[in-house]
């Protein structure tokens, strides 16, 4: 055991300080518990700040026809009916309250003429539904919750004399293990990134809110933090991951210059009227409207253009199809040789919107292109292409409590949790997801602690965790983590990327296993003090487990649906719509099995038009008409 190991006791430990983690922290603290928030970066830098477009909530401010049932339908449709119905239902019902609540904490959303929260259009949403602040909505969310945390700390300070007595942020700290005793969560173990000193957090409840896995891939919109830590920590603690084959490639990432490749170009650009064209000047999306969406999207440019001013009498432009459809379409255009010089397609707002309006509605996009690519988007088109953006798969949780199935005391919310988005997430549904399920995770963790009481971690458990941290310094003659990471990114990008085939996935599985074997001997230069090579050694371990889970799920699923496209199985299959892929870890490798989806209850089933359900379900399922 390390000398001077610091031991801390909390009721709830939250791993991750993005939107879901902070919302969980607020809820658990307001329930009267002592809460620690742990983040890999500085407080307030989490990837949530990158969310641009908005938070989907059927407040009905822009169109009074909107309500939770419409939002629920859109979400299920977007996820191609692989979503957990209950998560989609809770999300659609509760997101308006979560947005309004932020306003009571000081958030300042853009307004409608009546002074209500303005709502904007986004792909897959039937009505304008996204609460937003220009194109920096994620920053507003994280700042509001960061400031809410400070408000709670100030309140504690008035009562106890110490602002950090009951709610404290541990920034720049890496969690290496979730600890268990007698099959239940007992805390987390990790080290300060600044000096490598280790800390044991003893706590009966742990909420994982670590976000995504984008850094497993070569071209991604995710920051360095998106290394699937929570996914891997949960797997190793005995939880399951659900549907890890589903990754969302956002259709519009920057493609030029190379150093910014992958950085996100918000969907609001299309929501505000941006059109996609190929190098022939053709507005190609009209060619790619899939049958299931035929009656919802405009088939001519004239109708699509009219929609921006008259949404009641026209169908929406195909640029606003769900993200998976648009990403595949761009991929096909580029592959067919109709791409731009740098391997993307053109996205143009300059011909449709006056320059001052662009700068007002899309300020950070203007800024980003002007400063990083030397492109003035008020005058010229952007070059864009798909970028790995979001993982739909994640920890298998109970919808109402966000409790990880099979691990008492473990909870997961936000991107790290699976099920909510099915095979494809709609834009805007992530910010509302993390508010709805962050709150539920915090509340359920608090209830769990009140029912179960304190825990103690044994010395043997601490010893095991401590040894893992020491290992990279003891290895000699091994490879460096940077080169192994780069190798993994090539494998995932080339073999389990946006378009997949059985043979390639098989090759990926073998290569990932090989990299994983070599990674056990990673050697780290220097000492423990703020050493990025040392940090990457742990991130790499997590990314390898995640990649293995993704590849092994992808090879099983012999169909194309949402964020999983198999060239060798191009259509959706009835069989595969009815099952989830469940990954577990047996101590040496990831094992994937299928599990039937829960049946949709009749009252939710009845919200859909039968003809729409016929596109997704078998005649037997339809005849049954849902459960109960």
């Amino acid at each position: 055991m390390p000398q001077n190991l610091q031991k801390l006791k909390y009721d709830v430990v939250i791993v991750g300080a993005g939107g879901a983690g902070l919302r969980a922290a607020v809820e658990a603290r307001e329930a009267g518990l002592r809460v620690a928030i742990i983040c890999k970066s500085l407080f307030g830098k989490a990837h949530t700040v990158m969310a641009e477009g908005g938070a989907a909530a059927s407040m009905g401010n822009a169109n009074s026809n909107d309500n939770w049932m419409v939002h629920f339908r859109d979400t299920m449709r977007g996820g191609k009916f692989l979503n957990h119905y209950r998560m989609a239902e809770l999300h659609a019902k509760e997101s308006p309250d979560r947005i309004w609540e932020l306003e009571t904490w000081g958030a300042l959303f853009d307004r409608t003429k009546e002074g209500k929260i303005s709502q904007r259009n986004f792909g897959g949403h039937e009505y304008p539904r996204l609460a937003h602040v220009g194109d920096r909505t994620g920053l507003e969310l994280i700042r509001t919750m960061q400031q809410k945390i400070v408000a709670l700390q100030q309140k504690d300070g008035r009562e106890t004399g110490d602002m950090e007595s009951n709610l404290k942020v541990y920034a720049e700290f890496t969690v290496t293990d979730i600890l268990k005793e007698d099959g239940k969560v007992a805390g987390v173990y990790g080290y300060w990134r600044e000096n490598g000193d280790e800390i044991l957090f003893e706590a009966p409840a742990v909420v994982i809110a670590t976000g995504g896995v984008g850094k497993t891939f070569k071209i991604t919109s995710n920051s360095w933090e998106g290394t699937g830590d929570g996914h891997a920590l949960a797997l190793k603690a005995g939880a399951n991951l659900k549907d890890m084959e589903f990754l969302q490639f956002h259709p519009t990432g920057m493609v030029w210059p190379p150093s910014v490749r992958g950085i996100l170009v918000t969907e609001s650009v299309r929501g505000e009227g941006g059109v996609l064209t190929n190098n022939l000047g053709e507005r190609f999306m009209f060619k790619y409207i899939p049958d299931v969406f035929k009656d919802k999207y405009a088939t001519t440019e004239e109708e699509a253009d009219r929609w921006y001013t008259d949404q009641d009498n026209n169908r929406r432009p195909p640029e606003l199809l769900p993200r998976d459809e648009v990403a595949r379409a761009i991929n096909s255009e580029v592959k067919a040789g109709r791409g731009t010089e740098h391997g993307g397609v053109f996205l143009d707002v300059s011909k449709r919107i006056p320059a001052d309006v662009i700068k007002k509605r899309l300020p950070s996009m203007w800024h980003q292109f002007y400063e990083l690519a030397g492109v003035d988007i008020t005058k010229e088109a952007m070059e864009v292409g798909p970028t790995c953006h979001y993982v739909m798969g994640g920890v298998d949780v109970e919808p109402d409590t966000a409790a990880a199935v099979g691990v008492p005391g473990l909870f997961a919310a936000g991107e790290v949790a699976g099920g909510m988005h099915g095979s494809n997430r709609l834009g805007g549904n992530s910010l509302s997801d993390l508010l709805v399920f962050g709150r539920r995770a915090g509340a359920a963790a608090a209830d769990y602690v009140k029912a179960n009481g304190a825990v103690t971690v044994s010395d043997a458990t601490i010893e095991r965790a401590a040894q893992r941290i020491e290992a990279p310094f003891k290895n000699e003659g091994g490879e460096n983590a940077y080169s192994l990471h780069a190798e993994l990114q090539e494998v995932t990008h080339n073999l389990v990327g946006i378009i997949r085939t059985g043979a390639e996935i098989k090759e990926a599985i073998a290569k990932i296993a090989d990299i994983r074997a070599r990674s056990q001997k990673v050697t780290v230069a220097g000492n423990r003090q703020f050493n990025p090579g040392f940090h990457l050694a742990f991130d790499l371990d997590n990314m390898l487990l995640v990649a293995e889970s993704t590849a092994k799920s992808a090879i099983l699923r012999e169909e194309s649906r949402g964020g999983h496209t198999r060239d060798d199985f191009p259509g959706m299959s009835d069989k595969w719509r009815q099952v989830n892929n469940i990954s577990s870890f047996n101590g040496s490798e990831v094992v994937v099995v299928t599990r039937p989806l829960p049946e949709i209850p009749k009252e939710l089933f009845d919200l859909f038009d039968i003809h729409e359900l016929e596109k997704y379900m078998t005649p037997e399922e339809i005849a049954k008409g849902g459960s109960r």
Binding site: S41, L42, F43, G44, K45, H47, V49, M50, M59, D97, E101, E103, T104, W105, G106, L108, F109, D110, R111, E114, G115, K116, S118, V133, R136, L139, E140, R143, Q147, V150, A151, Q153, Q154, V169, A171, E194, S223, E225, W256, P257, P258, S259, I263, L264, S364, Q368, E371, L372, A373, N480, Y482, S483, V524, A525, G526, Q529, F530, P532, G533, F534
Partner: protein
């Protein structure tokens, strides 16, 4: 198109350190952070640098580039002359942890000293009505990405450690201004406490903070000066001073 770049990097920790020269490949379109990452991956595996989004949105990769406080992810290598040596050093106003990483906890302590937003108790969630034009004033300040470049460049604390306990700095003046201009905030006296408790009076509006702000927030013109003017109105209004002698008036 790849060329060689001479990069000079400050390496060391709180006890000792100095500038180290390296030669590194640089490609067209790259920013300073790309080059630092290449040094890290190929020559100095333990080089410490903070970064996150690499898109100018999180404010993590703050450092001084040729002496100027900047975000490394938003500084194009091409903005320097070819052949020019680029020197990167840690933020000067904060204690060094290692290499390019400094201890910015000062800022988080100051954040905790600013009284939080107070929502009108009679307004239930969803009932708030605000005009766009009224929220825009505060929205400008809420664009802040907390890169703390304004704090770093502010000469009140840059070379004056002794001022830190009594000076919140530009980042938190815009936080106070944001709350002060928030259409619904109920807490009174924000301007007065800015002056009396957070050191607003020590700012002599040289606009250095505005110049380095990567979000182009008009810190001095739109936040600090309007607050200073109002403080003068409140504190040195002869009528108020006189009436204040007669009774403890409700402050604002």
């Amino acid at each position: 198109m790849t060329r060689k770049l001479n990069l000079r990097i400050w390496r060391g920790d709180s006890t000792d350190g100095g500038l180290k020269d390296v030669v590194v490949d640089v490609n067209e379109g790259e920013v300073v952070l790309d080059v630092i990452h290449r040094v890290q991956a190929t020559q100095m595996g333990d080089l410490a640098v903070r970064w996150n989004c690499k898109a100018g949105k999180c404010g993590s990769c703050s450092m001084e580039i040729n002496g100027k406080p900047r975000l490394a992810c938003m500084t194009q290598v091409a903005s320097f002359d070819e052949g020019e040596t680029i020197t990167v050093t840690p933020l000067r106003a904060f204690p060094i942890i290692k290499d390019l990483v400094t201890d910015v906890s000062f800022n988080y302590k100051k954040a905790m000293e600013i009284p939080a937003y107070e929502h009108p108790t009679e307004l239930a969630p969803g009932e708030a009505r605000m005009e766009q034009i009224d929220v825009e004033r505060s929205q400008e300040f809420r664009k802040c990405i907390e890169c703390f470049l304004c704090q770093d460049t502010c000469h009140v604390i840059r070379d004056h450690e002794e001022n830190k306990p009594v000076f919140a700095g530009p980042r938190f003046f815009i936080r106070i201004a944001e709350l002060d201009m928030h259409p619904l905030d109920r807490l009174k006296n924000r301007k007065r406490t800015a002056q009396e408790e957070h050191g607003l009076g020590m700012c002599n509006i040289t606009k250095c903070c505005t110049e380095v702000c990567p979000e182009h927030i008009k810190i001095t013109d739109n936040a600090i000066i309007p607050m200073k003017e109002r403080v003068v109105d409140i504190k040195y209004d002869p009528a108020r001073m006189f009436s204040g002698l007669l009774r403890r008036e409700k402050r604002d």
